[in-house]
């Protein structure tokens, strides 16, 4: 077999190339960002009744034409939501408007939850069958969406917002403004 000299190094070169790519992949930090299909999309149309008498409900139309806000998906029966409450209070104190959707919940239970854990919410809608939650592409509680002034979804955080994430959320809200 008449093998040309440079050609015999080709298998080795090919293998080294693969090895380099694999080594990079091995040490690249795993990407855990949630790539929501909702990002860049307008909110789906919904209009939820209030769940507690002291606050209005939540409607998608009402979110257009105002400043950015967070939409928090939560439930009084959800333990991570209790852990998240102090962070939401800090965001509220920093001037962020937070609306909420209560999932499969009751008025008295939500009122009790707010009494115990603080109340950062401007409005809370009642989603007794998770219909709105599902239309938002959310699969659990808590989750938080950042909605801009045009009613477009900008970010999604899955799981409770941790203390070290508050600055990140604040920065994201300011970016949208």
């Amino acid at each position: 077999m008449d093998v040309k000299r440079p050609l015999v190094w080709l298998p080795l070169a090919g293998f080294l190339l693969v090895a380099i790519v694999v080594a990079v992949a091995l040490y690249a930090p795993a990407d855990r960002t949630v790539r929501s299909a909702m990002i860049g999309q307008p909110l789906p149309a919904f209009n939820l009744r209030p769940i507690v008498s002291t606050k209005p409900g939540v409607a998608s139309d009402a979110m257009k034409g105002h400043g950015p806000r967070l939409l928090n998906i939560f439930a009084s029966w959800c333990v991570p939501c209790i852990a998240e409450a102090p962070q939401l209070m800090r965001l509220r104190q920093a001037g962020v408007r937070i609306d909420a959707v209560a999932i499969r919940d009751t008025g008295p239970a939500v009122a009790g939850f707010l009494r115990r854990n603080g109340d950062p919410y401007a409005a809370i809608g009642d989603d007794p069958s998770s219909a709105v939650q599902l239309s938002l592409g959310s699969s659990g509680v808590p989750e938080t969406f950042l909605i801009d002034g045009q009613g477009i979804v900008r970010r999604q955080w899955v799981g409770d917002i941790r203390a070290d994430q508050v600055d990140e959320v604040l920065a994201a809200v300011r970016d949208v403004q």
Binding site: V8, P11, A19
Partner: protein, 637 residues
């Protein structure tokens, strides 16, 4: 004590592997009087293999005794497990499966040391040295980063259990078979390295290497066939091949080994394709190691991935760089000194085998690129996965061309043949394929192009593959010819099964109340109701199905099993096998209103897939016996 003894056996085996390498290296470098060193490599390799087997057996004993003070047992077993799964649990995890890998590596080296008599002594010593070097790296991997004998203090009261999906008789045999194939290829790799070191690539080398390649290939074929059937009935998805990275990891060495099997025949018979054969021998085991690496590093997510650990991944990657990179560099440096072999005409048996090799290499390339592409894309920040649409479209047509070459190849003469005469010899196979094609177009429901071509070509290949037996005294036909015939026929059978499955499968997803019935294909399936079932370490629900066809009935009991430790629900499909196919039933979830989901498939001739795979392996085994027998007779006379 048993765990400590196992660890000691591993350390001893590792030091013997080092000794094996050192003896071979010093012996080959010394100018004279080194024969004693070279001869000593053999017993060292045998004892090394024996020690690895001892370590593996001790691990099995630990699992059998449910010794929860051993971390591996505590995390992967449970005292309530049936004994078979306790034994199989020894390799149903990362550390244990790596120990099994090394054990088979050691055994393969020991077998070469014990039985190989054809190879020139210097080349044999170089081969065993290379085998020692490979084993050494994997011993280091076990001892430094994946110790299977690590103790746990305090010992837990009971273990965390084995993944219930792995609790299946298939698991007991599938990994050892597949590993015997993977690691058996290490012998071909070491032969190639040994021959490159001593510049001894020729017919004797090819004849010595061929049985080892055949043996590994038989195990690999069996392992893939069994794995495919296991995935088919255990996962409950009705599919038999998913292009899962780990399936690809087993397919790639098989493709390379199949090419090697054919090119080594050219080298042994006609002294051609020297450099190419050496290259394939290196590639085949490299694919085994890359497959192991992709799975064990957790780089590719898969149902087979045990460990997600960059440190372990980096360790194996370093080993890969050393072994594959080293072998490829040695190839590049030495291939110039490998003399050109005998030449041949384009239309000849050699030409057909070269076409076979090129097509297999292209398919191998497609599978490799498809498997690695997600990693490359991720490096550029794109998340994607490559699935069946790509593999089927890219590899399918080439595989069909390969089938045509397969049909013609065995009917070609060595060195030189005439195209016109070849076509003449192929008259019957071509007629059969055309007839099948016409019959399918005329009478069958419309089917896709690939299944249509696949089925027609399968018929043609089946006729062509038995053609070498025509006008021959069957009792005097050599066994390796029988082997080729059976293996090629097996592939035709398997291809027919694949084509039938994708063309004619009927699927039905229904929600039924007890007493209701539905139809799938020629079957009427009625749902009689549910009853609870209790297993060794699970409890579950069992549906009672009655399937009727042409007045004959079959009972099927698909189950939904709940395992307590770890808490998992699995579905256990129920399959009725009849002569012309399988009725495949899976029990799904309840809808809360008294109805139960049932997934039903009627799969005509699907069993041919695995029957064909088994025939392919049987053909390999016949060839192996045929190649070994005359040699033994020589030894006696």
């Amino acid at each position: 004590m048993i765990a400590e003894a196992g660890l000691a056996a591993l350390w001893l085996a590792a030091s013997l592997a080092l000794l094996q390498l050192a003896l071979a290296a010093i012996g080959l470098r010394a100018q004279r009087n080194a024969d004693e060193l070279l001869v000593a490599v053999r017993p060292v390799a045998i004892v090394q293999g024996a020690l690895a087997v001892v370590a593996m057996l001790l691990l099995i004993v630990l699992f059998q005794q449910s010794d929860m003070s051993v971390k591996l047992v505590a995390t992967n077993s449970h005292s309530a497990k049936p004994w078979l799964y306790k034994v199989a649990g020894a390799w149903g995890n990362h550390e244990g499966s790596m120990l099994l890998w090394v054990t088979i590596l050691g055994l393969a080296g020991a077998a070469v040391a014990r039985f190989e008599r054809q190879l020139e002594p210097r080349t044999l010593a170089a081969t065993l040295g290379a085998q020692g070097l490979i084993a050494l790296g994997f011993y280091a991997f076990l001892l430094f980063s994946s110790n299977p004998f690590e103790r746990l203090s305090p010992a837990p009261r009971d273990g965390q259990g084995l993944n219930p999906i792995l609790q299946d008789p298939g698991l007991a045999f599938h990994p050892p078979t597949l590993y015997a194939g993977y690691v058996g290829l290490s012998v071909a790799f070491s032969f190639a390295v040994g021959a490159l070191v001593t510049r001894d690539v020729g017919r004797a080398f090819a004849r010595a290497m061929r049985p080892w390649v055949l043996g590994a290939w038989v195990f690999l074929t069996l392992g893939i066939t069994a794995g495919s059937y296991w995935a088919y009935y255990e996962l409950g998805w009705g599919g038999w091949w998913f292009w899962d990275p780990v399936e690809n990891a087993s397919l790639m060495p098989w493709l390379a080994a199949t090419a090697l099997l054919h090119s080594v025949t050219v080298l042994a018979t006609r002294d051609g394709l020297r450099a190419w054969t050496v290259m394939l021998a290196v590639v085949a085991f490299s694919m085994s190691m890359i497959g192991t690496f992709l799975v064990r590093s957790g780089i590719l997510t898969s149902v087979h991935a045990f460990a997600v650990d960059p440190e372990r991944g980096a360790f194996i990657l370093a080993l890969l760089l050393l072994y594959i990179g080293g072998a490829l560099a040695l190839f590049a440096l030495r291939v110039g000194t490998v003399r050109e072999g005998t030449t041949f005409e384009l239309v000849s048996r050699e030409g057909g085998l070269v076409a076979n090799n090129l097509l297999l290499s292209v398919i191998l390339g497609i599978v490799l690129i498809g498997t690695l592409y997600p990693i490359v894309a991720a490096a550029f920040g794109v998340q994607l996965s490559v699935g069946p649409p790509f593999f089927n479209k890219a590899a399918g047509p080439i595989a069909l061309v390969l089938v045509v070459v397969m049909a013609a190849g065995p009917l070609l003469r060595w060195r030189r043949d005439k195209a016109g005469e070849v076509v003449e010899r192929l008259t019957w196979p071509i007629a059969a394929a055309v007839f099948a094609f016409a019959a399918l177009v005329a009478f069958a429901t419309p089917i896709g192009v690939l299944p249509l071509l696949g089925l027609s070509l399968a018929v043609g290949l089946a006729v062509a593959s038995v053609a070498p037996l025509w006008k021959r005294d069957l009792r005097r036909t050599p066994l390796f010819t029988w082997g080729m015939v059976v293996a090629h026929l097996g592939l035709a059978v398997s291809l027919a099964g694949m084509a039938c499955d994708s063309a004619f499968t009927a699927e039905r997803l229904v929600a039924l109340r007890a007493g209701e019935a539905t139809r799938v294909g020629p079957w009427r399936v009625s749902f009689a109701g549910l009853s609870p079932v209790i297993g060794d370490n699970w409890s579950g629900l069992q549906a009672r199905l009655t399937a009727e066809r042409d007045g004959r009935t079959r009972l099927l009991f698909p189950q939904s099993r709940t395992f307590a430790d770890p808490p998992t629900v699995t579905s256990e499909s129920a399959i009725a096998t009849v002569l012309d196919g399988q009725l495949y039933t899976v029990l799904g979830a309840a809808d809360g209103q008294g109805r139960w989901q049932l997934r039903l498939w009627w799969k005509p001739f699907v069993t041919l897939i695995w029957l064909g795979g088994t025939l392919v392996a049987l053909g390999g085994a016949l060839s192996l016996v045929g190649r070994l027998r005359p040699r033994r007779r020589e030894a006696w006379t």
